[in-house]
């Protein structure tokens, strides 16, 4: 297939999923509200000790992002599976991995990107300095697509299973750990004024690896689940 045809397919799939997300806005907002509420609960529970808050901020924000991202995974393939459109997608003459890339991109745009954009506002509750806020945004911007990509494999594997929600957390959360360590680590380093470059390189390496392998693994998992 030529690259122009591939782009057209990517675009068609992306518009479809974004259109569906707009028509069901409440589903999208749930993830965002979950993230906002979880992050906001900690300052309320811990109290106004600024030093403590600053120290826990990176971890709290990142763990909340992980959980929010996982919460949204159920919607990635389930609806297409339930109404039969997933079968049709598998039977189109397009490479399935390509369709997966566009589905995950659309999913990240509606569930991941809003988290990235609201994060600086939430960071203010933790008295993070301006530099650290920027680092937080950048780390989430690089990390949340990895979460969506890894999550897609889990979502595809648990498709149509009873109790898939619990199973997916067991499958996916351990794989999220490296992203969590370096994502939260880079913000930590930023707060203490250390060099953040190494962390960012690692995060981008995760992103490249996930982009290269996750669509293929997800496509294979979908073929198994649909049987």
């Amino acid at each position: 297939m030529n690259s122009q045809g591939m782009l057209a397919v990517l675009q068609c799939m992306l518009t479809r999923d974004l259109l569906l997300a707009i028509r069901r806005l409440s589903d999208v907002l749930t993830t965002l509200f979950f993230f906002v509420i979880v992050v906001s609960l900690f300052p309320l529970g811990i109290g106004a000790d600024m030093d403590t808050l600053r120290a826990i901020a990176p971890g709290v924000v990142w763990v909340a992002a992980l959980l929010a991202s996982m919460l949204a995974l159920g919607r990635l393939f389930n609806e297409d599976f339930a109404d039969g459109t997933l079968e049709q997608l598998i039977l189109t003459p397009q490479p399935l991995a390509l369709l997966v890339v566009s589905k995950v991109t659309a999913h990240w745009l509606v569930t991941g990107l809003p988290l990235v954009l609201i994060a600086p506002l939430l960071g203010l509750q933790y008295d993070l300095p301006a530099d650290a806020l920027w680092i937080l945004v950048l780390s989430l911007l690089m990390g949340t697509p990895v979460l969506s990509l890894i999550g897609a494999i889990g979502a595809a594997l648990t498709l149509g299973l009873r109790g898939g929600g619990v199973l997916i957390s067991l499958l996916v959360l351990p794989l999220y750990v490296p992203v969590l360590i370096f994502g939260a680590g880079v913000v930590d380093a930023g707060i203490s004024g250390l060099d953040t470059q190494a962390h960012f390189w690692l995060l981008s390496a995760f992103l490249v690896l996930a982009l290269a392998f996750s669509p293929l693994a997800t496509a294979a998992a979908l073929r198994i689940s649909i049987e």
Partner: protein, 205 residues
């Protein structure tokens, strides 16, 4: 040409069918009959490549469908027992997106004409969730009119359709067969379709 050699299907511990072989030439129609649970849908999904046979192979023009992969999908139109209609999208959007993803160049005019022929004029801008089951099925079947695929595999296409739609669908099928197309379908209703060659397979006891 579609060819199945020595197919075997197993669901859990139960063997649905075994040693099933047949071949279909261009212009031929195959009815798959059998009681509920005999493996009709499984056979159809196997012919599409959605289910991998426990034994045997499905060949399209002499090559295995799994090796052909996306090249086989170009020639294939499949309608499962689910409508494959997005409830939040309108009939028009559903059709346009489905055709674009199947790699068919369609214009809005063609899509509207297809919906019109299926008797859905005036319903094209309504979200599919407000349509009745029969209307959804007709939106799904309108894809047939836009499809350039040679092999049609249809699981219970007559479900939920009214008499007029059944007649329309029968004429669409005859037209496809006359154009050297191949159709494999299951149905519990007695429908006679004009075709040069009609083959039958009976699954189950």
């Amino acid at each position: 040409m579609l060819e199945a050699t020595n197919l075997e299907a197993v669901r859990g511990d139960r063997q649905l069918f075994t040693g099933l072989s047949f071949s279909l030439q261009r212009g031929e129609l195959l009815f798959v009959n059998g009681p509920n649970g005999a493996g009709k849908s499984t056979l159809l999904r196997m012919l599409c490549g959605l289910v991998i046979p426990a034994n045997g192979e499905v060949l399209w023009n002499g090559s295995g469908i799994r090796t052909l992969g996306e090249d086989f999908h170009k020639d294939l139109f499949f309608l499962g027992h689910l409508c494959a209609i997005k409830a939040e999208l309108t009939g028009l959007e559903n059709l346009r997106i489905a055709s674009a993803l199947s790699g068919q160049a369609t214009t809005e005019k063609n899509v509207l004409a297809a919906l019109d022929r299926m008797g859905l004029r005036g319903f094209e801008d309504l979200p599919a969730k407000v349509l009745s089951q029969g209307q959804k099925q007709r939106v799904s079947l309108a894809r047939l009119l836009l499809s350039t695929a040679n092999l049609w595999i249809l699981d219970e296409p007559f479900t939920a359709l009214d008499k007029a739609s059944v007649e329309l669908l029968k004429s669409i099928f005859s037209g496809h067969l006359a154009k050297q197309g191949i159709i494999v379908l299951t149905t519990h209703q007695d429908v006679a379709i004009d075709a040069a060659t009609v083959k039958q397979i009976k699954l189950g006891p």
